[in-house]
């Protein structure tokens, strides 16, 4: 019987197509998360009011911020989930090695994040539409209606979701490496938060600075570079630490 020639790219593509079908549950949970987030947002995602005695102005904000936050959480959890043994063994039932398994996972997360980002953005507009149709406001102000700003918004949303996805993935991989990380990672995060809250001791990692590094970036291009590099590092790390690990 002839041996099949190996084509890594082809196997990655097949694994990716397989995962789009097999991990359909991830999209269902995304839908549930986003609908829940929309329900939470119905009361308005922000508001203001002012009065000078004669005139009283009150405004309610409707945007996708809660939906986006929920989508990030979803990306984080889904990424952890697909690193677990049950998912991994599904890959190894068919043709794969560690590398193709990871790369196809990453492709899947990429696709899921783009999908999640776009739907999160759209749900922001859905909220505005609901507010317009079902609430009696005197006036509706729509900000960010230029195509360019919508694109920038969508892109940054997708990149944030990807960032959480990559973070979840590396945490999931670490837990697969050793169950000790289930305790170590939360301990590190919480401990660090405590250190940060108290002013006497400086924290190991200043979360404020980390967050600042990304959110204060005003250039969308530079922001994309920063996030891309981070994601690349996180995913490479995941591939590197599990490459010698046994399966099944």
């Amino acid at each position: 019987m002839y041996l099949t020639e190996v084509n890594t790219l082809q196997i990655i593509r097949k694994q990716y197509q397989f995962k789009l079908k097999a991990y359909v549950g991830a999209f269902t949970s995304l839908l549930v998360m986003q609908v829940t987030a929309i329900l939470f947002s119905l009361g308005g995602t922000g508001g203001m009011s002012s009065s000078d005695g004669y005139l009283y102005i009150s405004g309610t904000q409707y945007n996708g911020s809660i939906v986006i936050a929920f989508t990030m959480l979803w990306a984080f959890i889904s990424s952890i989930l697909i690193t677990t043994k049950a998912y991994r063994n599904d890959d190894f039932t068919f043709v794969t090695n560690r590398f193709t398994s990871h790369v196809s996972n990453i492709y899947f997360l990429l696709a899921a994040s783009i999908f999640g980002g776009i739907t999160a953005m759209l749900s922001g507009y859905l909220l505005k539409l609901i507010a317009y149709l079902f609430y009696n406001y005197d006036a509706i102000l729509v900000t960010e209606h230029a195509i360019s700003s919508i694109l920038v918004g969508a892109t940054s949303t997708i990149f944030y979701i990807l960032l959480f996805s990559a973070l979840g993935y590396v945490i999931g991989v670490l837990v697969q490496l050793s169950k000790l990380f289930i305790i170590l990672i939360p301990a590190f995060v919480i401990g660090n938060l405590f250190l940060q809250a108290g002013e006497r001791v400086s924290p190991l990692v200043d979360f404020n600075k980390v967050v600042h590094f990304y959110i204060s970036e005003s250039s969308i291009l530079l922001f994309m570079v920063k996030v891309s590099v981070t994601i690349l590092v996180l995913f490479s790390l995941s591939i590197f630490i599990t490459n010698r690990m046994e399966v099944k």
């Binding site: 019987m1 099949t4 190996v6 196997i11 097999a22 043709v95 794969t96 590398f99 490459n243 099944k248």
Partner: protein, 299 residues
Amino acid sequence: MSVIKCEKLTKSYGENKALHELSLTVEENKITGLIGRNGAGKTTLLKIIAGYLRKSSGNIEVFSEQPFNNLKVSSNMIFVDDQMNFPTALHLKELLYVAKDFYPNWDMDLAERLFDYFSFHPNERHHRLSKGMKSTFNMIVGLASRCPLTIFDEPTTGMDASVRKDFYRALLKDYIAFPRTIILSSHLLNEMEDILEDILLIRKGEKYLHMPISDVKAYAFGIRGESSAIKEWSSDKEILHQKQIGDGSSYIVVTNTSYKLAKSAKLEQFTISPVAAEDVCIYLTRNEKGDIDHVFNRG
């Protein structure tokens, strides 16, 4: 050409050695039966061959490559066992199409015929199947994928007698049409010995026997006769098994070589019988603590 080549292959878990300096070669297009007691290291060996587990020391080559984490080995091999995982989101029929996508030699016609023959429902899901039905479905995937190296680890777990029979017959028929290297592991040799070409017996992680199945049948002889005569005759021979029979006679099993050596001696007084391959395997892998009767001998 050899498909699998191990030299002093060792796999240890801490102090415990699951495989100990195992050296063997499996030739192309043979059906080999891997036999051994529970815990002898059958599954460990198969998982190292499949590239799931890493060797501790020694050497192993599958298709002339190191199998661990190897895409070429994975592409040309399928590993079927009762732990086989399939995504819960997909129906059985969808799983067949996924398999088709991964395995270039996949025979969809065969898969669907077997699927119908064993009355699977296309919309059923793998994790909801009974144990026997799971094994049957896995077997269909294993056969239809037509991988140059097909590994079945305890494939008949949970199957009823008639499905087992069908399985071995289906395997043989497909093998005749498309010869390939097949390894079947089981502790039930009897039910599969007819379709095997070679037998590989391992004991405590070490190779004990690797030979054509027909040679195993001539490996040992059973000799029965009056106890004292048996005792005298066998004093200088390796006895694989012995049993007292109530009437003052004994039954012993000796290897082919000691039987041939002793052919000149007076054997007429004894009854000589062949020993089934399964029994040979049982005697060869027996417990050092003696057989089960020993437990009850509190005398």
